[in-house]
Amino acid sequence: MTPRTLFEKIWDTHVVHAEAGQPTLLYIDRHLVHEVTSPQAFDGLRLARRPVRRPELTFATMDHNVPTTDRSRPIDDPISAQQMKVLADNCREFGVTLFDLTSPDQGIVHVIGPELGITLPGQTIVCGDSHTSTHGAFGALAFGIGTSEVEHVLATQCLLQDRPKTFFIEVNGKRPFGVEAKDIILSIIGRIGTSGGTGMVIEYGGDTIRSLTMEERMTVCNMSIEAGARAGLIAPDDTTFAYLKGRRYAPKEFDKAVARWKQLPTDSGARFDRALKIEAATLSPQVTWGTNPGQVVPVEGHVPDPAEFHDADARKSAERALDYMGLRARTPITEIAIDRVFIGSCTNSRIEDLRRVAGFVKGKKVNKSVYAMIVPGSQPVKHQAEEEGLHRIFTEAGFDWRESGCSMCLGMNPDTLKPGERCASTSNRNFEGRQGKGGRTHLVSPLMAAAAAVEGHFVDVRQYDVKKKR
């Protein structure tokens, strides 16, 4: 048999109908739903008098709008409250499992899917949310869809898709201290650009990737969409299986499932449409300076001069970005002072992220000029952190410790930047206004965010550590 990639194996087993010159009809194993991109889809079903075809494969949560303050109080924003109520009503009417605001499992959709074992290797997973690519960390083909497609999947459990191309990115070698999963993916986006993966599914491999924990793999796959890719994939292995074992929705006959999953990794000799190799040893902690995730430099670098860009679009983008970000060309990154720190989002709000932050800030203080908040990705993450006493380390250091949700990743709830405020953020998008109108976002790893919180400006965590050890 011809050798196949992980992507091809998943795709081939999910084809319901294929005809030359037409998109393929794919079967969908898991459909995740949140309150922002689903109301119009449920409305469409009601209009057409259709049921949800496989409610038992559909899971909903509230994350984008939810307040991250005291949950016993009523929600201030009546429109947010209504959107959440509409989701609850829809789930009840159509028989869909919902993890609502009061649920001990509530959290960001891309955090709770894996946590509950809803996300499994070899599956097709969709959600009306572009960061569905996160679930690719388990070797599942997972991608974001629009609301019309949400409706289609609700009604049919199938989806029309053009077959994407494949892109293999191999990262090898030992990661230097201070270089996190976030830095790997940011530097990849910096290299291939925000449309470098358009029309493609990226598989990440190489020994550096294989050595990552599941949390770290999720960080990498999460931001595949920021490189324009349809999805990110990492082959399942013992790390994956160990993570999934015993999770609530994981298969009961677990060993049988593992035997199946072991067939998934890309066969040797399989072909990709594009390939890229990266040496981990050459990577540094990354900081974005602009208004898209591809506008990124190593922390030891400086804000680029737009004149350095040969491409006219890139130059124009850079000029505009510097203007919006209030930065001058050639400013060293470590001289950029910040006002806010946000540690959270579906990129970096899992227990391991919080442990690393706690390890760094223990016994230190958040700088007087900074307001810093930590928003766990889910209620289970929050409880785990509290059980380990991390919340005490955070609050003693001066961090605000919040309830779970998307929070200031996109600021649909009250957590937003004010115009002109500059934020070190562990989220995934530094678009204009993303965290609040006029707000200035720099994307960094949790470790870099923690260090910036302590120092009040960006610092190279590698030097920081050496300095403290002496």
């Binding site: 319901v16 109908h17 009809l25 991109t37 119009q40 429109i79 629009g146 983008s317 996109l410 649909m412």
Partner: protein
């Protein structure tokens, strides 16, 4: 869904690459639970100054572009969030056709679900369109999906490419229900 066959309309310009869906429709307007009414919020943070007055520096705000239904813009338009509110807002504002060197995948897909036609043209041609439009107030294009051609009264006559299946759906106003429940029932082994 309204079929898209031939469309003639005024052209407006957005001279920026990598326009993300957060800009097309900022998050504070995603709380509506309908598909309509988003046009007033299109490009909100660019289109309006603080206080809600139109921003005169935002090119599409110029009076000469009022009523435009074709948007010409730069590479990687529609990147970022999967929100279908972005094409809904453009459609509600009056845009039926978009022309750019490239589009982000999810946005591109979402357009077709709403009877809108995104056209990819090579960068030099897009650049030329920018120049023609800026030179000639009231510049109009005719987009003929049947013949896969873009024409204008100034002699412009360019072919464009579009996926056959999507063309078929747009020409016939077919929405997302293809290929129909029957086929799914018959063919779905799951």
């Amino acid at each position: 869904m309204e079929p898209f066959k031939t469309h003639t309309g005024l052209v407006t310009l957005l001279d920026l690459p990598n326009v993300d869906t957060d800009q097309i429709i900022p998050k504070q307007f995603l709380k509506r639970i309908e598909r309509t009414g988003f046009g007033q919020y299109l490009f909100y943070d660019w289109r309006f100054l603080d206080g809600g007055k139109p921003n005169p520096e935002f090119e599409p705000n110029q009076p000469r572009y009022k009523g435009a239904s074709i948007l010409v813009t730069r590479t990687n338009f529609g990147c970022g969030s999967s929100r279908e509110h972005a094409p809904w807002a453009l459609l509600d504002y009056g845009i039926r056709c978009l022309i750019a060197p490239s589009f982000a995948d999810i946005f591109f897909n979402n357009c077709f679900k709403n009877g809108m036609l995104p056209i990819r043209l090579p960068e030099p041609q897009v650049e030329e369109l920018f120049q023609r439009v800026r030179r000639t107030p009231g510049y109009q294009l005719t987009v003929d999906l049947d013949r896969k051609k873009i024409t204008s009264t100034d002699g412009l006559d360019w072919p464009f490419e579009v996926d056959e299946f999507r063309r078929h759906c747009l020409l016939n106003g077919l929405d997302i229900w293809w290929p129909g429940d029957k086929l799914i029932e018959q063919a779905c082994p799951f």
